[in-house]
């Protein structure tokens, strides 16, 4: 029995099941250490990606007849936040864009060092791209237009090819992917974490194989040094470090959701900003799918004196983005009185506490599309197989059930955010100031939670 196996056997007996290293389970270890992982999954997703792209670009012109639209916006997009919650950034490992980047890099990549500006402003670029794509969707109707969705995917593919051809590792995924910020934030709140064993790493003589790679494979594609990694925000669970570590140091464990958010040592304003902006985006997505949106639009047209949708929507968009930012700013300003930290520090540190509510709102919104339009995937796939669509309702479950799930999710999100705020406040402040620091953010979370519940009470339109 090798030392690694011996250690695994000892730990397996002494550690409670939930805290146990999942790599001690033979099936998990075999899958993650297999040379077919993640390649075989990447092959599947890239095949579907090809089908989706083909459907979007040359398939049926109307969204509700198009399998590409159904697979992208009814199945994949709603599933994404759920995957992030349960499996962290696992999706990024099998994402077709990542695979394209890997392939391009393998054949023609010159693997240059990532430019400094990307390293410095990467997350801001991601934030900006996420906002731009959301804005574009509303103004040009990308989701509802298969061609628009296809062009978006082609643009992203172009960016991926450029990055894969010029730069090392997964530069696109780490510094530019519009989903990267979202996935990073959500993965922090997720239940899976991969960390290394500091005791083992302290005596490591492999020459940082987890970063540099060795004969067994390449190092971390996400520019992370697993030995120093304290966050799941950029871990794709690609198992590269597991394969190359000669000491069996990496450990995959289940943790309490949101736990990582309680102990963020270096909070970043750009990550907190994205967390707040996502709240605004969820509001926008909800509002524009409501009946009341028509009257809001009329009011805005009257106010702005133009019927240009780009203008009126942009006004709404900016207001929706600014509302949570200003509210968090106000809470940070109030908390500053009690915890004596700066406004920016308060904003950045406590901004992370909104991530659970973001996630809940995001999942709740998308769950409507998944559950109320889920059958659209089958309906649009059948004509491709030469069969006629049976038609009828596309719902998987009834609306009342969806609403109950949505409210439950929002309540869970509020509780998780409140607890996160409490833990952050407790770590940051003295005993007597904890509750005083907690109070303004708690109020903010309750207000945002109530706004979410109100929006989910109203009937929503569909994507397809």
């Amino acid at each position: 029995m090798s030392p690694v196996q011996l250690r695994e056997a000892v730990e397996k007996k002494s550690v409670p099941p939930l805290q146990r290293n999942l790599l001690h389970y033979p099936v998990v270890a075999a899958v993650l250490r297999s040379r077919w992982y993640p390649g075989i999954l990447q092959a599947i997703t890239i095949t579907f990606f090809g089908l989706i792209l083909f459907q979007l670009l040359v398939g049926p012109a109307m969204a509700h007849d198009n399998l590409g639209t159904a697979l992208t916006w009814v199945l994949w997009w709603p599933m994404i936040p759920i995957i992030f919650l349960f499996l962290g950034r696992f999706w990024c490992t099998i994402c077709p864009f990542g695979t394209i980047s890997d392939l391009v890099q393998k054949f023609v990549g010159s693997r240059r060092t990532v430019p400094k500006f990307l390293k410095r402003y990467g997350i801001w670029i991601i934030d900006a791209l996420f906002i731009l794509i959301t804005w574009s969707d509303h103004v040009w109707g990308i989701v509802e237009s298969p061609w628009g969705s296809g062009v978006l995917l082609l643009l992203l593919t172009t960016g991926v090819i450029v990055c894969g051809a010029l730069f090392e590792r997964r530069t696109w995924c780490r510094y530019l992917c519009f989903l990267g910020g979202l996935s990073g934030n959500y993965a922090r709140a997720g239940i899976l974490q991969l960390r290394t064993n500091p005791t083992i790493c302290a005596t490591c003589k492999s020459g940082a194989a987890c970063y540099n790679g060795n004969a067994n494979g390449p190092g971390c594609p996400m520019f992370e040094f697993p030995r120093m990694m304290q966050s799941s925000a950029r871990c794709n669970l690609c198992a590269a470090c597991i394969k190359v570590c000669p000491n069996g140091s990496p450990e995959l464990t289940v943790r309490m959701p949101t736990k990582e958010l309680w102990f963020i040592s270096k909070p970043k304003i750009e990550e907190a900003f994205l967390a707040v902006v996502i709240m605004g985006i969820v509001f926008v997505q909800n509002i524009t799918m409501l009946d009341v949106w028509k009257s809001i639009l009329k009011g805005l047209e009257h106010l702005s004196g133009t019927t240009n949708y780009a203008v009126t929507f942009t006004i709404t968009f900016v207001i929706a983005m600014l509302t949570p930012i200003l509210l968090l700013g106000l809470a940070a300003l109030t908390a500053k009185i009690f915890n004596h930290a700066s406004l920016l520090s308060n904003f950045a540190r406590f901004g992370y506490a909104l991530i659970p509510l973001d996630m809940a709102g995001h999942i709740a919104h998308n769950l409507f599309h998944l559950l109320a339009e889920g059958k659209a995937v089958f309906f649009t796939a059948l004509p491709l197989l030469g069969k006629s669509s049976p038609g009828g309702s596309t719902a998987l479950v009834s609306s009342p059930i969806i609403q109950v799930i949505q409210y439950t999710l929002i309540v869970l999100g509020v509780i998780a955010s409140l607890y996160t705020v409490y833990r952050i406040a407790r770590n940051q402040s003295s005993q007597q100031n904890t509750w005083l620091s907690f109070a303004p953010y708690a109020l903010l979370i309750l207000v945002l939670g109530a706004m979410n519940v109100f929006l989910f009470m109203l009937p929503m339109a569909m994507r397809m």
């Binding site: 012109a61 109307m62 509700h64 007849d65 890099q105 023609v108 990549g109 010159s110 693997r111 574009s136 509303h138 103004v139 040009w140 109707g141 990308i142 509802e144 061609w147 628009g148 082609l154 643009l155 172009t158 090819i161 450029v162 051809a165 010029l166 020459g207 940082a208 194989a209 540099n212 790679g213 060795n214 004969a215 494979g217 390449p218 799918m289 409501l290 009946d291 949106w293 639009l297 949708y309 009126t312 929507f313 109320a372 339009e373 669509s389 038609g391 009828g392 309702s393 596309t394 719902a395 479950v397 009834s398 609306s399 009342p400 609403q403 109203l458 009937p459 929503m460 339109a461 569909m462």
Partner: protein, 178 residues
């Protein structure tokens, strides 16, 4: 000279990439017809109107096609006037309905239920535009790959070893964080 060429290709290439992405984005998005009034108000919300039951026994349809239209190719997929049962899964707690309105692409000009006529407001570009956009993407990405292959060939041997993605354990690079 070699150094200069590489440098120019590097920075110029990046500038070209950024420029092309911007142009591509503008060209690509311009081929999608902008929604003149409100994408959401027209296509996301009003498409639900004909089938929304307010619970008062009346239908409150506002779609132009007030009468049922035959839909020979889609079969049971209607134009938004399909009667619904009592336990319709699309009926929300407030009595509203969220029934999708599939289109009939074989009937030009027929209202799809999305508030958009298939001919009046084409959401798909014509063949020429489609060819130009797809051709541009293919040309650009193809050129990018060729340039990248050229750049890779010109990399010095040491970097090419690193570019294979694995550290050469026997080389002096061993143990260095790249």
């Amino acid at each position: 000279m070699k150094h200069l060429t590489r440098k120019l290709l590097g920075k110029g290439g990046m500038a070209l990439v950024v420029f092309s992405l911007v142009i591509g984005f503008i060209a690509g998005t311009n081929t999608i017809q902008p929604h003149p009034v409100a994408k959401a108000s027209v296509s996301r919300v009003s498409n639900q109107q004909p089938d929304r039951d307010q619970g008062d026994g009346d239908t409150h349809g506002s779609m132009p096609t007030a009468t049922p239209l035959p839909s020979p190719t889609i079969g049971s997929m209607d134009q938004g006037v399909l009667p619904h049962s009592e336990n319709d899964p699309h009926q929300s707690a407030s009595g509203h309905h969220h029934m999708p309105m599939p289109s009939d692409a074989t009937q030009p000009g027929l209202d799809s239920g999305h508030g958009e006529s298939n001919t009046a407001m084409g959401i798909s570009p014509d063949t020429r535009t489609r060819t130009i956009v797809l051709g541009s993407f293919a040309t650009f990405n193809g050129s990018m790959l060729v340039i990248a292959a050229f750049l890779k060939r010109r990399l010095p041997q040491r970097k090419r070893v690193l570019a294979r993605g694995k550290t050469n354990q026997n080389s002096s690079e061993k143990g260095n964080i790249v």
